[in-house]
């Protein structure tokens, strides 16, 4: 009887406190959400399993080396279990970043690229999102909307323990709630991320930071290659920049950022040669 009164009061007070303090996922929780998004990214828009393009592991390692050349020189070189770079087996032209530093590029995008600097530009844009914590913010919002924030993070752990002590809620109930919340976060997140990206403002911020990192002394890729790739995107793959003036605006913003960085490196033939070698199997398939 006492518990029937105490538990709702305690839960309400904790939930209010968590809400007031803007709880957020820990690094470890982000990692598990990232893994979940990665698993969900292996299904196409019709729900058919496509998986990663893992028949050419040299290509996957090459993409990771290009990505790491940028990520490890970025403002956030470390994530919970480090950056991971994957090639998604999809004809769609896309790249995206999930929480925890899981970064993907599709085989369709790789086929459209002409050199390593374009690949670095695209990955640097995605790393920009990770640096700016867009995936994490997105996951936090999704968790909030799914109504699971009250049982997450420090508060979640303590609340779970408190509820168990009071004998009201079993571990199985907690797990069922968490599983439902986890599923809601992943479903909402994956669909919106892959189809819409993080929104125009965040995309522009990721462009700017991406360019900045490409130009750092520890990197030195040609930042203009990002523009070259974007300009070649078919209209249907331009996301929020489907009209010509909108696309022009994005290109101008990238240009302005490049100018701020001083002398830019040119695309190097040695890099282009190794890009062609690494993607040869893909182009032949």
């Amino acid at each position: 009887m006492t518990n029937r009164i105490l538990v709702p009061i305690l839960v309400a007070a904790l939930a209010a406190a968590v809400g007031c303090s803007h709880p957020k996922l820990t690094e470890s929780q982000e990692y598990y959400v990232g893994r979940g998004v990665a698993a969900n990214a292996m299904f196409d828009s019709e729900g058919k399993y496509v998986g990663l393009y893992d028949k050419d592991q040299n290509l996957e390692e090459y993409v990771a080396l290009v990505g790491l050349s940028v990520a490890l020189e970025s403002d956030r070189p470390e994530t919970f279990k480090g950056y991971h770079f994957g090639v998604v087996n999809s004809p769609d032209i896309n790249a995206f970043a999930a929480p925890g530093g899981f970064i993907f590029v599709t085989t369709g995008a790789l086929k459209l690229m002409e050199n390593e600097d374009e690949l670095a530009g695209v990955l640097s844009h995605e790393i920009g999102h990770v640096n700016l914590r867009h995936p994490e913010d997105h996951a936090n919002r999704a968790a909030d909307q799914a109504g699971v924030m009250g049982i997450l993070d420090t508060g979640g752990h303590l609340m779970s323990s408190a509820l168990s002590i009071l004998g009201r809620k079993s571990a199985a109930d907690n797990l069922a709630t968490l599983t439902k919340g986890f599923g809601s976060v992943l479903d909402g997140f994956t669909k919106e991320l892959i189809v819409n990206g993080y929104g125009r403002e965040s995309e522009l911020a990721a462009d700017a930071l991406g360019v900045k990192v490409l130009c750092r002394p520890g990197v030195r890729y040609n930042p203009n290659a990002l523009k070259d790739f974007i300009s070649r995107l078919p209209k249907k793959d331009r996301g929020a920049w489907s009209t010509h003036p909108e696309l022009e605006g994005r290109m101008q913003a990238i240009d302005d950022e490049i100018k701020k960085q001083g002398p830019a490196a040119a695309t190097d033939s040695a890099r282009t040669a190794r890009f062609k070698a690494a993607t040869a199997g893909l182009r032949g398939s």
Binding site: T2, L6, I9, A13, A17, V18, C20, H22, L25, T26, E27, S28, Q29, Y32, A38, A39, M42, F43, Y49, G51, D54, Q57, E60, L65, L68, S69, L72, E73, D75, R76, P77, E78, F80, K81, G82, H84, G86, L152, D153, T154, G155, G156, H157, L158, M159, S160, S161, A162, N174, L175, A176, L178, T179, F182, G183, G218, R220, A264, A265, D268
Partner: protein
Amino acid sequence: MVLAAPFLTVLLPLLGAAGAQEEDALGPAKVNVQNASYNKVPNTTRGYIADAKIGDEVTVLAYEGSFAKVKRADGTEAYIAKSALIPSEKYVKSPANEKDMGELKGQGYEAGRFDPETEASYKKEKGPEMEKAFQNVDLWEARQAWISQRGTLSKKMDEFRKGGKLAEYSNVK
């Protein structure tokens, strides 16, 4: 009400701390990621000294860009990425760590987070196709385990930069 008041007295400050903005504070900090390294210079792939372990205690002496200059437990100084650290008082034990998970369970931890247990339950609920997708994620992470071996990664990255005329090998200075 008698029971709730002491609970709230203990819990509310902790919840506030968890949600507070992280600052670049000097002083005690802990390593908050599983793969990081201590380096002689503020860079993750240059001047490798040793792997940093999650939960390592350090003292932050200064910040240089994205890096912190720290004093390690053995008294030596090194650089580590700022994003690998968290102020000691904000460190939350990770269920992804077997050692921490044991301790958390000892404290009455029960499925309170997104963790391996929640993931396993989610996979079971979604069925074999999702199990397969997660297996693919596991294999992918295993294939990229070389990224966490920071000593060898430094050498590999240097060769890659050299071959592609990047960074110090670029003609743009």
